[in-house]
């Protein structure tokens, strides 16, 4: 069901949506962009929602719709920042580490955040959507626009890389502990 077209109730209805979803969307944005830019990106997300209000699904479906807009807004912000700075830097990595410095400075989590910053952005996003934004795997797959199975693959891959990095770091260079007894399939030898 879509929202009813405009009218006097528009701003009031939008305000209800804003109040209900602000915290989650603000959290999503603040975990991904530098603090100085966060309010601008949050405003952009809700401006898109306001301008396209007739297309915003009714609750509870509006939640994932807004996460999708937020994801695009953060990506757009990163691209414009990259263009502006003309630097070949890993912006997402910057965002993670910047957020880490600003927020969670507990040294226990440093290996986790360092390992996460080394992930491919799409893999890192899979972990963050579930473990930081508290979406279900199905919801996160929907936000990323991929199938549940595709999401599971990304999630597992990311989790394993972080786990291996954390374990190796905490064991001061001892051999990684993750080994599987599953026999490797026969492999071809073509070039």
């Amino acid at each position: 069901m879509r929202r009813r077209r405009g009218g006097e109730a528009g701003p009031a209805e939008f305000e209800r949506l804003y109040t209900a979803r602000y915290a989650e969307i603000a959290g999503y944005v603040r975990r991904r962009v530098a603090e100085a830019d966060a309010d601008d990106v949050i405003a952009h997300v809700f401006t898109v929602a306001w301008r396209k209000f007739e297309q915003v699904p009714s609750p509870p479906d509006d939640r994932l719709w807004l996460f999708g807009v937020a994801r695009n807004s953060v990506a757009e912000h990163d691209r414009s920042r990259q263009r502006r700075l003309r630097l070949h830097v890993r912006l997402a990595e910057d965002a993670v580490t910047a957020a880490s410095r600003a927020g969670n400075s507990d040294p226990r989590y440093e290996p986790v955040l360092t390992a996460m910053s080394s992930l491919r952005p799409a893999d890192r996003e899979a972990l963050q959507l579930v473990l930081w934004e508290e979406l279900t795997h199905a919801e996160a797959a929907s936000v990323l626009g991929c199938s549940v199975n595709a999401f599971e693959l990304r999630y597992r891959r990311a989790r394993n890389v972080v786990r291996d990095a954390v374990m190796t770091t905490t064991n001061q260079g001892s051999a990684p502990v993750t080994t599987f007894r599953t026999s490797s399939p026969a492999r071809g030898n073509a070039s």
Binding site: R5, E15, T19, A20, Y22, A23, G27, R31, A43, F46, W50, R51, K52, F53, E54, L64, A99, G103, N104, Y109, V112, L113, T114, M116, S118, R120, L131, W132, E139, A141, S142, G145, S147, N149, E152, R156, R157, R159, N160, V161, D164, A165, M167, T168, T170, N171, A175, P176, V177, T178, T179, R181, T182, S184, P185, A186, R187, G188, A190, S191
Partner: protein, 362 residues
């Protein structure tokens, strides 16, 4: 605690630290938003119901392609290549060209109609670890089966079950015993989802170009899903388009052509998937550095294709630890069956991939 809990705790901006919607900061943002152009201020996205054109390729072409791909399979007698490149199935270009021809010749999969669901059934190796401390943790691998039903409105059902728990090593077993031998059983789950809560793949699947050059440009730029750029990402996107989607044959044919251009993509050739079916393996390697704090890893992503249909049979992830040189198969997924079914309980597709019976079982 497991690694997921640890990552969750590392959240740099916990919800408790966020300003509420009633805070002056949030109210100022709301005022700013409402002062922008109101509803309707932006043009609606142009929606096209016209699907991309489907390419019809004759059965003869499919037969030729199948013969070419079959040359890579066990038991076949590979002939010396008569010409290099696209006609030699022992090269990446040749194998992908043959898979592309096969894909183009497959019947188009139709999306589910009213009352129907896109069904998929997969089996995978998954692992769950329990983390007590830096010296007390253990990993358990499970054989997981997942069945998914998705209606055209995004509603559906996911059924998951976990079997055959295995402690990954003697060390994991010792730590599990030390932890009091907790039950390793995981209860099966059967969850229903409302409208728009599930997705079958990239949202713009039917709008993607089937011209390989244009498609490659879109994929490489990240425009397909708005994600980052890079060859490893491109390889993931290839899998996303081919994995249990109703991608039109012409698109599937084009995506194989695109795969050929991804830097780092290699032909594994004859490969057997974890459940014993023979296929054609394509791989991509990615190096993970961890900023030099821990030994680098090389992650190998493998896609295995059915040599008779070009459908995706399975995926694997292997990790090689630079420090030890040890390679582990860390996860795999085998696609058992997919297609359109007539009810949310049905497991018999009325169309689509008929399951592994069409594969080349060894």
């Amino acid at each position: 605690m497991n690694i997921e809990s640890l990552i969750g705790e590392a959240n740099p901006v916990p919800a408790a630290d966020l300003p509420s919607a009633d805070s002056p900061q949030a109210r100022a943002t709301l005022t700013r938003v409402l002062s922008a152009t109101g509803p309707g201020g932006l043009p609606s996205p142009r929606l096209s119901s016209r699907l991309v054109a489907r390419v019809a390729v004759g059965a003869a072409a499919a037969a030729v392609a199948a013969i070419v791909v079959a040359q890579l399979l066990p038991g076949s007698s590979p002939r010396p290549a008569t010409s290099p490149g696209h006609s030699d199935p022992r090269t990446l270009a040749g194998a992908l060209n043959a898979l592309s021809l096969l894909a183009a010749a497959q019947p188009a999969a139709h999306p589910p109609g009213p009352g129907q669901y896109q069904y998929s059934d997969e089996k995978s190796l998954t692992e769950i670890d329990t983390y007590k401390s830096a010296t007390n943790y253990y990993a358990v691998s499970y054989s997981e089966q997942r069945q998914i039903w998705i209606a055209s409105n995004g509603s559906g059902r996911i059924v998951e079950s976990f079997r055959d728990p295995r402690l990954a090593s003697a060390r994991d077993r010792r730590n599990w015993i030390k932890d009091g031998r907790p039950s390793l059983r995981i209860k099966p789950s059967d969850q229903r989802y409302g409208k728009r809560q599930l997705s079958v793949g990239p949202a713009n699947l039917y709008k993607l170009p089937t011209n390989p050059a244009r498609l490659a440009k879109l994929i490489h730029s990240g425009a397909v899903d708005g994600g980052p750029v890079g060859s490893a990402e491109d390889f993931v996107r290839i899998g996303d388009v081919l994995r249990e989607t109703a991608a039109p044959p012409a698109l599937r044919a084009a995506i194989f052509k695109v795969s050929e251009q991804i830097p780092g993509a290699k032909l594994l050739g004859r490969t057997t998937d974890p459940l014993g079916s023979a296929g054609i393996g394509i791989a991509h390697w990615q190096h993970v550095a961890h900023r030099g704090q821990v030994p680098a890893e090389t992650i190998e992503s493998v896609l295995i294709f059915n040599p008779k249909t070009s459908n995706l049979l399975a995926e694997e992830t292997l990790v090689t630890y630079t420090k030890t040189g040890k390679t582990s198969l860390t996860s795999w997924t085998v696609y058992l069956r997919s297609g359109v079914v007539n009810s949310i309980a049905s497991m018999t597709p009325v169309s689509g991939t008929p399951g592994r019976s069409s594969g080349a079982t060894t």
